[in-house]
């Protein structure tokens, strides 16, 4: 059971959260070409290492936020503090 550093609630069991996957920017829907939009929909970097990803604290603060995790070790980087701006998705 991963201990996820929720920026609001503090360390919480991963069962309390929903995993939102790799964080990736949404292209402008008005101008996006098919390849670009489908890259957004389907293609992922899926690195074996540090990954920026989204989480939703479903049983806790009900906030979506972005964290950095090493997918090789499942270690979270420098857990953000309450009020830390990195707690919101970039």
């Amino acid at each position: 059971m991963l201990l996820v550093p929720c920026p609001n609630c503090g360390p919480r069991n991963s069962a309390d959260l929903r995993y939102g996957g790799e964080s990736h920017a949404r292209p402008d829907p008005a101008t996006a070409a098919p390849l670009q939009w489908r890259g957004y929909l389907y293609l992922r970097d899926n690195p074996a290492g540090w990954l920026r990803e989204t989480w939703y604290c479903r049983s806790g603060c009900r906030r979506w936020f972005t964290l950095e995790r090493n997918t090789a070790t499942n270690e979270f980087r420098d857990p953000p503090q309450p009020g830390d701006k990195r707690g919101t998705k970039a």
């Binding site: 996957g21 098919p34 389907y42 992922r44 899926n46 074996a48 997918t71 070790t73 499942n74």
Partner: protein, 436 residues
């Protein structure tokens, strides 16, 4: 048989009861199953990944297409990845016509594998039950059964009484939170001894001259002419691979890895619609055999079979969190046990003996990515999610054909990488949340 004649390098030590008895009497040992050779500097094709997919691909390259100057590279030992970690269930009762046709061919190849490869892979055609606990699930079972029937695959929806007859240990009363309303019954499904498939393909490929190189890690794929850095990427072509044992030149590289498919493809400048997740499994201590069939519940995310050794083998859906770490989790075993007891309360005193996990490359439509890529000479056979083992023979056969002929065989055309550019995905997602 043409390939055998051309590809044969040495006489195999034939396996049979008589041979077993003869060597037993003489006290003779058996020869090596595959040779330990030096890594050459050049091959006609290099297969990355010494699991069932890679070995089957190499075997069919040699057998069907006479390509024997082939190396299979594995960074650990043969079958060390998903091939040796899956729960070895085979079936063809998929939801889409393209899926059914594909897996049905795979089942045929499994059926004849023991004789084809001269190794007992212990294919136990014991039937496969997919339980439905809701009207919606039952509807999907009917849908699958109908599509299966149209493709000539033996599947039907049966009710609780018939389920009880097939597997008396299942609780078919209406007491459980998830009552068993019916099941998709697929008599040709079953289990196979997964390691034997790995060793069988390796041994047969070795007999035809294919080389297996263990502890040989691919560090880079060498390309030229592509639109990315170092000649990689679209428009380019493969020239070789760099390994921890030196560079190899080759015009064809086939990525047959699971868990590392995205990383290997990135070495050629090809981006994939894949995220990597662990799939966990567990086994109990043995008890006398009582479960004659494979039992799956999609809503409860569990599948169960009992080996001939008496162990119950369990699996579940992939973990939600993408990771390359394959340490098992406690919550997996807790949920698993809860769900198993929901189906079979009487096994509550059986003990869990061991848990493990392997990596699965998940795609958005629960279907693989197979065939050519924008890099000439770089083929993929990846994105197998949780159903790679059951597809290994047909995948090997088809991808070998693609590599040898340069054309995409019809059976794998629906699984082309390009579908993620056109948005025309395969419709297995509905039925495959737990696709075992």
């Amino acid at each position: 048989m043409r390939g055998i004649a051309r590809g044969m390098r040495r006489r195999p030590a034939k396996y049979s009861a008589a041979a077993l008895a003869w060597r037993g009497l003489k006290g003779d040992s058996w020869p090596r199953v595959w040779r330990d050779t030096e890594l050459k500097r050049s091959y006609d094709a290099v297969v990355i990944g010494g699991g069932v997919h890679g070995l089957a691909t190499a075997y069919y390259l040699a057998r069907n297409h006479g390509m024997t100057n082939v190396a299979v590279l594995d960074k650990a030992y043969l079958g060390s990845g998903a091939s040796g970690r899956n729960t070895a269930i085979v079936r063809a009762n998929y939801l889409t016509p393209e899926g059914v046709a594909f897996y049905d061919r795979s089942l045929q190849l499994y059926n004849s594998m023991a004789l084809d490869l001269n190794i007992n892979v212990m294919f136990s055609e014991r039937g496969h039950l997919t339980l439905a606990h809701s009207d919606a699930a039952l509807r999907t079972m009917h849908w699958r059964a109908e599509v299966n029937k149209l493709q000539g695959v033996n599947s039907s929806v049966i009710g609780p009484d018939e389920i009880s007859e097939i597997a008396p240990s299942l609780d078919t009363s209406d007491h459980p939170r998830y009552p068993i309303l019916g099941a998709l019954y697929h008599p040709p499904g079953g289990i196979v001894r997964h390691d034997a498939v790995v060793w069988g393909y390796a041994r047969a490929a070795d007999h035809m001259g294919v080389e297996m190189h263990q502890k040989t890690e691919v560090l880079d794929i060498l390309c030229e002419g592509g639109d990315g850095p170092n000649g990689k990427g679209a428009g380019g072509r493969v020239t070789g691979v760099r390994t921890n044992r030196g560079d190899i030149s080759t015009p064809i590289v086939i990525n047959c890895t699971a868990g590392w498919a995205g990383l290997i493809s990135a070495m050629a400048g090809v981006r994939l619609p894949i995220t990597t997740h662990p799939l966990q499994a567990a086994v109990t201590e043995p008890v006398k055999v009582f479960l004659p069939t494979v039992v799956v519940s999609g809503s409860l995310h569990v599948y169960i079979s009992q080996t001939d050794r008496g162990e119950l083998v369990f699996g579940a859906a992939v973990d939600a969190v993408a990771t390359y770490s394959i340490r098992g989790s406690l919550e997996f075993t807790e949920e698993l046990a809860g769900h198993v007891l929901e189906l079979m309360p009487s096994v509550s005193r059986m003990r869990l003996l061991r848990q493990w996990s392997g990596l699965c490359d998940m795609t958005p439509d629960y279907s693989p990515v197979m065939g050519f890529t924008p890099v000439d000479g770089f083929l993929v056979d990846v994105g197998w999610g949780t159903y790679g083992f059951k597809a290994a023979p047909v995948s090997g056969e088809q991808i070998a054909e693609a590599a040898a002929t340069g054309r995409t065989p019809e059976l794998i055309a629906p699984f082309a990488l390009s579908r993620f550019e056109t948005g025309e995905l395969v419709g297995e997602k509905g039925a495959a949340a737990v696709g075992h």
